[in-house]
């Protein structure tokens, strides 16, 4: 187990290093190293940002289930859940960082905030949620930290105190009381991170693929799918599959499985409404999905359904839980990736062309932003369709962020006394 863990750490460290090198390259040369251009301005980074916001939902599900709905069997995994909530909220913000053209000017967010902009609100809500999750984790773990301390590599154990059993009991009671107060405060933020993230996209009338009231509910459904699955995986790493956690795993698997159904319902409901009219920009987004992005659409739906099936039937075995959680997350990842292309490849400026008795709409091409091709084989400067495939730099940075986040998550789970008493 120890060797496996060390190997995982080593691999993740190498990936993180590659990602950091890639980001330094991107900082030096600019975002030209990505495959995004003026007609297609957001790509893999923003898709992953939305994905991480979704995976941060685990803490919400668990804590609200315990303290608001009184589901006591989830209590042992609450610290792990809130650690994942913290780490993925941070991951979302970290993921948006390489997408920024001028990271050196990020302080402008504080100096000149524009409160009409939902990106600013998303930043505020996400950081508040991350801080709340960190506080929540600390509150939950306070008695255990006092009892066994935080073990930091090269530093040793810190914050350990010698206490009588009475004192520990008092701390435990206090932690319980504070968690009860914190849970309802954190809950609105936990819902808001998905809602505001969705609003960043859903408010844009120029992008019919996003525009509308249905995006925020689907974001919440996607979060309730990915979040519990991530908590299952994280607590399997920490605790393994134990008899006393069976109920907790089953509940999380059920929440995740049910949310997939809700997500697919809303998704296809939207598809149906859009396709019925047989024309227009909304209709064209659906046609674009089926024409150009059918493979990604197939991956999202097949993996989501597969994951639901496994989670709903095989929640009693480690293999089932792992396979189901992974499948569901892959499905959500594809779902998140598919947020981007149909939004950009339906050009908003469409001009009607009237030819005698016929008429059609024509997309006004956008200047790409650099010169491509050669003298004899020039590529168009103005284009109304951008075939976006993430560049190697984008992929390296994305994997690097994942590796860094996993390292921090594994390190935190190791350092913090999240293990239940009596087992180590």
């Amino acid at each position: 187990m120890k060797r496996k863990f060390d190997l995982a750490i080593a691999v993740l460290a190498v990936l993180a290093l590659i990602g950091i090198v890639a980001w330094i390259m991107q900082l030096q040369r600019g975002l030209i190293l990505t495959n995004m251009r003026n007609p297609f301005t957001w790509g893999l980074y923003i898709a992953m940002w939305a994905f991480y916001v979704g995976t941060a939902a685990g803490g919400l599900v668990v804590s609200s289930a315990i303290y608001i709905f009184g589901v006591k069997q989830l209590k042992p995994i609450a610290p792990v859940a809130s650690v994942t909530a913290f780490i993925f909220a941070v991951a979302a913000m970290l993921m948006a960082l390489p997408d920024i053209g001028r990271p050196d000017r990020l302080l402008n967010l504080f100096i000149y905030p524009n409160f009409k902009s939902l990106i600013l609100w998303d930043f505020i809500i996400l950081s508040t949620y991350a801080i709340l999750s960190a506080i929540y984790t600390f509150v939950l773990l306070r008695p255990k930290i006092a009892a066994s301390g935080i073990s930091i590599p090269f530093v040793g154990t810190v914050m350990k105190r010698d206490m009588t059993a009475e004192e520990i009991q008092r701390l435990e009671k206090e932690s319980e009381r504070r968690a009860k107060i914190l849970a309802p405060i954190a809950l609105p933020f936990a819902i808001l991170i998905h809602t505001v993230t969705a609003w960043v996209l859903a408010t844009q009338l120029s992008r019919p693929w996003w525009y509308g009231g249905l995006l925020a509910p689907t974001f919440i459904a996607a979060a309730l799918t990915a979040g519990p699955a991530v908590v299952i995986l994280a607590s399997l790493i920490v605790y393994g599959y134990r008899k006393d956690l069976q109920d907790a795993y089953r509940l999380l698997a059920k929440v995740s499985a049910f949310s997939v159904v809700a997500l697919l319902f809303m998704y296809y409901n939207d598809f149906f409404v859009r396709q019925w009219w047989d024309a227009g920009r909304e209709f064209d987004t659906i046609m674009l999905v089926f024409r150009d992005y059918l493979a990604i659409h197939a991956v999202e739906v097949i993996f989501m359904l597969l994951g639901t099936f496994i989670l709903a039937t095989r929640y009693n075995s480690v293999g089932g839980l792992v396979a189901g959680s992974l499948a569901v997350n892959i499905g959500i990842l594809a779902h998140r990736y598919l947020l981007i292309p149909p939004a950009y490849n339906i050009i908003p400026l469409r001009v009607p062309v009237v030819l005698g008795i016929e008429s059609f709409e024509w997309s006004y091409p956008i200047a790409v932003g650099d010169i491509r091709g050669t003298l004899m084989n020039p590529q168009p400067v103005f284009t109304a369709y951008w075939n976006y495939v993430p560049s190697l730099i984008e992929i390296a940075i994305t994997i690097g962020v994942f590796a860094i986040i996993s390292l921090v998550l594994l390190g935190m789970l190791r350092a913090l006394p999240v293990y239940p008493q009596g087992s180590q």
Partner: protein, 249 residues
């Protein structure tokens, strides 16, 4: 209160793209980036009519920034780097933009452009693609464009020849000229005199008179962005620009 706007008469546009080129020249627009586009509506190639003979259409549509009254780009900018000045010009502060590109997503007209790399690199790349020898172009050499940095009254940098990498730029209605009382370069450079620029709030300005006399349309009016660039729709041309309607059914 001054409120600047533009009228483009599509009957007069000959699709020569002079406006796009003169815009690039005076505004020092990097290679591959265009503040001003002119395309033949409905056609894959510029200057090629669309449709099948005899049902042909060849309408040239120049698209600068619309300088909307209700600009989505201004609303989405998290740091207020793009803003609508009192005279209605929508400008970008090169020193404040953080390069999140949310405004490129929000703008329905596709006029916003991002500096994906150093402008010098863009120009070098352009020469390379065009088949010039290596080192033919030196970044330290002369740069085209209006030579002086321009700041608004409150000191915000809205025009500079050396474009910072990682920021957004777009048509400014040639703010550096407008502030000196000169019309934008595309208005002055149009050989067909298709453009009128002026104060929309002044009933005696030329643009107000044109708007009063002619029927105009704006692009994507249903989005509620209220553009300040107006178009005079092209009449179907027969003979010498005259319109002949059949009297018999």
């Amino acid at each position: 209160m001054v409120r600047y706007g533009m009228v483009i008469d599509l009957n007069r546009c000959i699709g020569c793209r002079s406006c796009a080129v003169v815009c690039k020249m005076v505004n020092s627009v990097p290679t591959g980036t265009w503040w001003q586009r002119v395309e033949t509506v409905g056609s894959k190639e510029h200057m090629v009519p669309t449709g099948e003979y005899p049902n042909l259409s060849e309408v040239f549509l120049p698209v600068p920034c619309m300088h909307c009254e209700n600009p989505p780009c201004v609303k989405v900018c998290p740091v207020g780097a793009t803003w609508k000045r009192e005279d209605g010009l929508v400008l970008v502060d090169f020193e404040r933009c953080i390069g999140c590109r949310y405004c490129l997503t929000a703008c329905p007209y596709g006029v916003r452009q991002f500096n994906w790399q150093d402008a010098d690199e863009n120009i070098k790349q352009g020469f390379e693609v065009a088949g010039f020898e290596e080192n033919w172009y030196k970044p330290s050499d002369y740069k085209y464009g209006y030579p002086i940095d321009h700041r608004t009254k409150d000191g915000r940098l809205v025009y500079t020849k050396t474009r910072p990498r990682g920021v957004v730029e777009k048509c400014t209605f040639c703010v550096q000229f407008v502030d000196q009382g000169i019309a934008p370069a595309c208005v002055r450079g149009c050989p067909g005199n298709a453009r009128v620029f002026g104060d929309l709030d002044d009933p005696n300005s030329e643009i107000s008179k044109v708007l009063k006399d002619r029927s105009t349309f704006r692009l994507l009016e249903d989005l509620g962005t209220e553009p300040k660039v107006f178009y005079i729709p092209p009449a179907r041309k027969e003979g010498r620009g005259g319109v002949n309607y059949e009297k018999k059914v």
